[in-house]
Symmetry: C2
Subunit: 209 residues, 2 copies
């Protein structure tokens, strides 16, 4: 394809910047740049400021590494939550997804990624050390039970990460659990993948009508 020629350096710079976003190609970037040009000036300024504020002022909770507006996030600050059950997730979005279910009342620990030799992400790039410290602190604090839920993806990287974490925390003699896997509610058997259906049968649960 021929190199695109732009009628304006300003437009070219904006398209360049927008197309650096993940999943945005040159064509969509041009469409978005022209969209910005048509918007009222104050809207575009509000847009830019929202992104700058996010980048410059947002913080991570010192306990669970979740995005936070302050030193401690709203979940860790909530005294009604069970501080001895920690759900370990790879990403901020996972916390939001689980929170939206309204079914979990413990705290979280955001790893900031997943062990992936291909992507060059090793255990030291994640907040696993901080997690081990949290568990150690909980154990020394009281004898009440502690549970770590490894809520990671079911692929090789997720399982590798879960296993690595398990090896780091097993010495504390605490309960370590993982998410239930099986058919989704409402899933049809005939459309389920073999692995999921197979595991659903092996890990079948007592029927409680």
């Amino acid at each position: 394809m021929l190199k695109e020629r732009y009628p304006s350096k300003l437009l070219e710079d904006a398209v360049e910047a927008i197309s650096s976003l993940p999943g945005v190609g040159k064509r969509s970037a041009l469409r978005l740049a022209l969209h910005f040009m048509r918007q009222p000036q104050e809207n575009v300024h509000r847009f830019a400021e929202a992104i700058l504020h996010l980048r410059d002022d947002v913080r991570y909770c010192s306990t669970c590494m979740m995005i936070s507006d302050g030193e401690k996030c709203s979940i860790c600050s909530d005294s009604s939550r069970d501080t001895r059950t920690i759900c370990v997730v790879s990403d901020v979005r996972d916390v939001m997804s689980i929170e939206n279910t309204g079914q979990f009342h413990g705290l979280y620990h955001v790893l900031g990624g997943i062990i992936s030799p291909i992507a060059g992400i090793g255990p030291s790039d994640l907040t696993i050390g901080e997690l081990v410290q949290r568990v150690a602190a909980l154990r020394s604090e009281s004898d009440a039970p502690v549970e770590i839920i490894l809520a990671l993806s079911g692929d090789v990287e997720g399982e590798t990460t879960a296993f690595y974490i398990y090896r780091q925390i097993e010495k504390f003699g605490i309960k370590v659990s993982t998410l239930a896997r099986g058919l989704g509610f409402g899933d049809d058997l005939e459309y389920a993948d073999q692995l999921t259906l197979g595991r659903s049968i092996v890990n079948r649960q007592e029927f409680r009508p």
Copy 2:
């Protein structure tokens, strides 16, 4: 769907701003917001500045209404171009597409849209008045021929706009043309839509081997 709860007001504001872009939903907006958080601060500032500069400093060519960094765009300023052939397009992107072909050496006129009663866009919202003035000026300047190419879309709105413009400029007695329509180069007959194939046969051209 439940209303998403955000762990941070700053994140929520950024997601709100990003999801106001056309074609970007809440989920993609969250993904992009988290992307900005992971980028080096200077990259995010460069991004915001590129968009603010575009919105605040970009101009439109006083002649053809094309995006321009100055009073006159690079096409209108190019003395090698044929100033008496004007290609009328609805959008800045159309100019870029035609320029990329390298096949047109006249000037442009950007309407800034297309007549669309449904979208509430009438002739006075477009730069049709300016086009009529340009044609009038060319006619009074010299007796050399003038050609207006109506390079608008082939749908009802495009044809309505083309017809409206034609009625406004026919009094000048100039040549008015439109884009050739037919099968694309490399198109298979069996996959062509009926309308296109039908018109291709009716408007068949002399074979020049």
